[in-house]
């Protein structure tokens, strides 16, 4: 049980850390709204509270100092200046590390830990440094009993409530009941102060009790019972053993005990003769029975109250459901195919129902997908930290601005985006943003800005990382690529082609690598990570103004809309999202360009044609292809191309089956799917096909040109 509660705690910590980060980011941005500061305080406070419950002392101690400083801020005792905000940001990072250590084990950098604590303590009042967290005063049964058999003592307790006590909800009866658990208790009501009925004031207190308790518990246990009424009553507690120790009072007290012992009623501890009005009041208000019987339903309902009712579900269950929905869609396709093959005269009714089936399947699929969809916000917030760390490691000043944090993306995509984004951001700080002095010299603000944004773009998610740094150093990049033998020495590349060289495997900017981004990962790894998610990455750069990385990702990794086409007698699927337009070709639309280039003329514009069959090596490029169908696609750089396929069959949802584990990465092929007839079809990656065919064309041209010069 406590294990699962601890899990909840760590889950909640994630949310709280997120809230804290968000608040701190707002504060950093100049928002010093007390409610923002309060929210951060509460987040830290809740982490501390939960950590305390699980005995996570290091976390508690750090959170306490953090919280204390925030309390000072909250009470306007400390001013939120840049220095403090930077410290708080570092502390928030560290707190998140401490949470991770508490959850997963490991250690944190002690020096760093101590430095932050020292930093925080500078802002703390000396007297605030009391770090004792022992539950105060709650002795009683919760205090471990001394091992040695304690001597039984007899306590004489005089308890006289003041009228103030009754406003607090404290009830003498319950106190006595708690007391009776410490040992046999005798209760004697002292009503001697009770005035006549006429003289009695309703809200005054006239009653007192003399209690005799025999117990092995120390006096502090008895005091603990009266903890809540301390100051609200006259209370005296005396024991026989006390008396023995106090020689002077011995005789008098012995006498007093003798008296009370003889005169008091010898009733068992409970029930005792207590005065009616005060004691029976709570008992006399029984709750309606119906309420109690509906308790279960009611408590469930109560938990659902509040701002955002949520349900936590094991991810595995959702994934099982997603798989089932995938099968359902395949099953629908097969069913549709079977029905179409039937030799029945009138299929209209069946087809209507089948259409309904399809729509429902799509609804279910969208619903299930949305369960997996999560806002990119937590991911983006983690990135702020990366930028902070990278800036301080390179002595640069950079801030991260985020946009579209509420854009929702599949959970797996978010998880797998973390590494590529980290790498791109480190690169942006390390290579993109200039040193503060250099920036100032060219009229930029000393603080570099990196803008991280997410948005939905027609069935895809677009993540953009834009910095206002120096941009790609193209001559340098080209030179490196030539040195590494990645491009011919005399290659003529467009600016965008040079920028994209960064993604080539084997391209390492070793000369510029600092200890920060040079972690043995090149941008090709980033590209592979994005490609593995079915996405694409592209860079555009403006010298002196900065670079922009654009990552386009599919919304889901399981199902997509595809156009079923045939290519050289094979059935293949092209993602609908990449198709702008389709058209049936005719000879007069095709124009030749040089020996093997062809252009398609569309309403006065020319776009290059790429024959899918030959690009995939399924057909000889020079074979006479019949004019088929053209799929007009647009690449990330905005260039249009026409993919030539033989025919279009259908447009439908297909379930994506990854090929990764089966046959690795095939150029031009993104994944596979199962069609209605049970056959497997490849899902094409148009961008990849085009890139492959244009780059080979480019190099061909280069080669032809150099050959011509040589001869």
């Amino acid at each position: 049980m406590s294990g699962s509660i601890q899990d909840t705690f760590f889950e909640e910590c994630e949310e709280l850390l997120e809230a804290m980060d968000e608040g701190l980011t707002a504060v950093e941005g100049g928002d010093h709204d007390p409610e923002v500061v309060n929210a951060i305080f509460r987040a830290v406070h809740s982490i501390k509270g939960g950590a305390g419950a699980f005995g996570l002392d290091e976390l508690v101690a750090f959170a306490h100092r953090f919280e204390t400083v925030f309390d000072e801020v909250r009470n306007n005792k400390v001013e939120l200046d840049t220095k403090l905000i930077q410290l708080l940001l570092r502390c928030s990072d560290h707190l998140s590390d401490l949470v991770a250590v508490a959850r997963d084990g490991g250690t944190t950098d002690e020096e760093h830990h101590d430095a932050l604590i020292a930093g925080l303590e500078e802002y703390m009042d000396d007297e605030e440094e009391d770090l004792t967290f022992e539950p105060m005063g709650l002795g009683g049964p919760s205090v471990p009993l001394p091992l040695a058999a304690e001597e039984e003592k007899t306590y004489e307790i005089r308890f006289r409530p003041l009228k103030e006590m009754f406003g607090t909800g404290n009830e003498p009866f319950f106190l006595f009941q708690a007391l009776s658990e410490l040992g046999p208790l005798k209760v004697v009501l002292d009503e001697s102060e009770l005035p006549g009925f006429d003289a009695m004031a309703m809200d005054d207190s006239y009653l007192a009790w003399n209690l005799t308790l025999t117990s092995t518990e120390p006096k502090s246990s008895i005091e603990a019972v009266f903890e809540f009424v301390e100051g609200l009553c006259e209370l005296s507690i005396a024991s026989d053993k006390d008396a023995e120790e106090e020689e002077a009072a011995l005789a008098a007290l012995n006498a007093a005990f003798g008296v009370s012992g003889d005169d008091s009623v010898t009733d068992p501890p409970a029930p005792f003769d207590a005065p009616a009005p005060a004691v029976t009041a709570p008992e006399a208000s029984p709750q309606p029975v119906e309420k109690a019987s509906s308790a279960k339903a009611e408590s469930t309902k109560s938990e659902q109250r509040g701002p955002k009712p949520t349900l936590r579900v094991d991810l595995e269950r959702v994934d099982r459901l997603i798989n089932a929905v995938g099968e359902l869609i395949i099953n629908h396709s097969m069913l549709a195919q079977q029905i179409a093959n039937l030799d029945v005269a009138d299929l209209r009714d069946v087809e209507t129902e089948l259409e309904g089936f399809k729509n429902l399947a799509r609804d279910i699929q969208e619903g299930v997908m949305s369960i997996r969809a999560q806002p990119v916000k937590p991911l983006f917030q983690r990135m702020a930290r990366i930028v902070r760390e990278a800036s301080s490691a390179t002595n640069k000043v950079a801030k991260l601005v985020t946009e579209g944090e509420n854009t929702e993306v599949d959970k797996t995509v978010i998880e797998r985006l973390s590494d590529p984004l980290t790498h791109i951001l480190r690169n942006a700080v390390d290579h993109g943003i200039e040193k503060p002095d250099d920036r100032e010299a060219i009229g930029k603000s000393r603080t570099g800005e990196i803008r991280l944004s997410a948005s939905h773009r027609s069935g895809s998610v677009c993540i953009e990382i834009k910095d206002d740094g120096a941009g790609v150093n193209r001559p340098r990049v080209k030179q490196i690529a030539i040195e590494k033998g990645l491009i011919p020495e005399n290659a003529e590349l467009s600016d965008s082609e040079i920028d994209n060289l960064l993604f080539l495997p084997g391209f390492s900017t070793a000369k510029e690598v600092s200890n920060l981004s040079g972690r043995g990962v090149g941008m090709d790894v980033v590209k592979n990570a994005v490609t593995a998610l079915g996405g694409r990455i592209n860079i555009s750069s403006n010298p002196g103004k900065g670079s922009t990385f654009t990552i386009i990702l599919p919304l889901t990794l399981a199902v997509m809309d595809g156009m079923v086409v045939s290519v050289a007698d094979q059935t293949m699927v092209v993602p609908i999202t990449s198709i702008v337009e389709t058209m049936r070709g005719s000879d007069d639309m095709i124009n030749s360009l040089g020996a093997d280039g062809t252009l398609l003329s569309i309403r006065g514009n020319f776009v290059p044609i790429c024959d899918v069959a030959s690009a995939l090596g399924l057909r000889n490029p020079n074979s006479d292809q019949p004019p088929g169908v053209y799929l007009l696609v647009e690449t990330e750089t905005g260039q249009k191309s026409a993919l030539a396929v033989d025919d279009i069959h259908d447009q439908r949802q297909v379930v994506i089956k990854s090929l990764d584990g089966v046959c690795g990465n095939i150029p031009g092929v993104a994944a596979a799917t199962i069609l209605g007839d049970g056959k497997i079809a490849m899902i094409l990656d148009p961008e990849n096909i085009l890139a492959a065919s244009t780059s080979s064309a480019t190099f061909d041209t280069e080669r032809r040109m150099s050959n011509a010069i040589a001869s």
Binding site: M1, S2, S4, I5, T8, F9, E11, E12, N38, A39, F41, R42, H45, S46, K48, G49, G50, G52, A53, F54, G55, F133, P135, M136, G137, L138, G140, P141, S142, G167, T168, G169, N170, E171, F173, F174, L175, Q177, A178, E181, A224, V225, E227, F228, L232, P282, P286, Q287, V289, K291, A292, A295, E298, S299, S302, E303, R305, G306, P307
Partner: protein, 124 residues
Amino acid sequence: MKTKVLAIDDSRTIRNLLAATLEEAGFEYHCAVDGRDGVDMYDDVAPDVVITDINMPNLDGFGVIEELRGEGINSKVPILVLTTESAPEMKARARDAGATGWITKPFDDQSLIFALKRVTGAVA
């Protein structure tokens, strides 16, 4: 009949801890996610005792006590404050608002039950 507890805390962890301890001890447990929610739920739940956190969004613990004890609801049930601060000023402030007692976080099962016992007499 079980003693009904209304716990008001914005921390899910604390709510779960309270739920586990209280339900095991035989209390009927209801919870609210912040002060405003707690006050809104009060009449529906009609608890025998309220346990409230202090630092909460929307309405803090002192606000909860003031509203529960105030004219509108005029509650007489015991209210225990859940706090990490053991400072006397905090207790005084809670008591001034009308709190019955307090439980210091982190609490263990026994001290929680002991506190409830002292204000409701209930063992469960």
